[in-house]
Homo-oligomer: 167 residues x 2
DNA sequence: TTTTGTCTATCTAACGTTAGATAGGCGTTG
DNA sequence: CAACGCCTATCTAACGTTAGATAGACAAAA
């Protein structure tokens, strides 16, 4: 994975988090990076491959960030909340997998698998942390929904409001 | 509002709830209804007008359904939960405003206003029903997020799991 | 020499949108 | 009554633009 490929993933992630799967294009991503669209195709031959790669990296990084918070002594629910909160505040964008999940009928199978992986691993990890299934689903749902509301209303404080009850 | 215009709104609503704003097209909607794309333009001159009209009707109907549940004696949180639940089970689709909120950077102002209206009125009504602001945001966030998760994982029981703690 | 990475140039398909024509219904006017 | 003009609703056809994707040239590096 070279520098350009990483820059393409970065740009695609930002675009998808703002406008969803069908709201981003090779041309836009290429312009963000400073190359031609055909160069993006060189690194990621098709749109669904690119989106799937973005989702996989996003999930991996997300889980790693949660692990770090837990290793630093945070409660598992607090850790998940903090990582969601940081993703919202740092980027002022929706959760990547939340943004794509919202248009799930529009996703190629390869992409949907990666989006599902985010949600499934989230629930799984929270259950491994001691939560009942219902509680685990509740945490993920609330975090995604609060991020959604905070984003569309352009009021990040809504995330804190909406998730205060979790901890 | 004649029969065709209503059919166009119905088709557009279903398409947007499955694929988001930029995932639906005049041609698709026209084909669903059984007319040509130019006829859709006759009733709704531009895509953003159509999406805004769909969102307004959706919100109005949603609030009315909640009112009916409350009039029948339901607790306000239970009423909201029931209407979300029915929208998920009946249509097997995302919440229309949730689907568009997820791609909020991609929305024309006219559409975003309508999407925001859904969230703002939801929070407002819950507060009028006696909830604190944090609790109202929590309810809306959890319902949207649970619908999102249930949809993308294609498991409607997740909605009940994820929202059980609300009531 | 082969591989890597980017370019130019192009393709087909689809997009939202518009123009112009048509057909039928409905009043109003001669 | 009949003729005219207007409104509604749809059609065909095309507009310019953008989409994802591909082929082939070219330079640099291994």
């Amino acid at each position: 994975m070279n520098e350009t490929a990483e820059a393409i993933l970065d740009a695609a992630e930002e675009r998808i988090r703002g406008a969803g799967y069908s709201g981003f294009s090779y041309r836009d991503v290429a312009a963000d990076v400073g190359v031609k669209a055909s160069s993006v195709h060189y690194h990621f031959p098709a749109k669904e491959k690119l989106a799937a790669a973005v989702a996989r990296r996003y999930t991996d990084r997300f889980l790693e960030a949660v692990d770090q918070r837990q290793a630093a002594g945070a409660d598992i629910v607090a850790a998940w909340r903090q990582v969601f909160r940081e993703a919202l505040h740092r980027d002022a964008r929706m959760c990547l997998c939340g943004a794509m999940a919202a248009t799930s009928h529009d996703l190629a199978e390869e992409v949907r698998v990666e989006v599902r992986r985010f949600f499934l691993l989230g629930i799984e990890r929270l259950m491994q942390g001691g939560l009942e299934r219902d509680a685990a689903v509740h945490v993920i749902a609330t975090l995604e929904g609060a991020m959604l509301a905070a984003n569309v209303l352009d009021d990040h404080s809504l995330f804190d409001s909406g998730t205060a009850a979790l901890i």
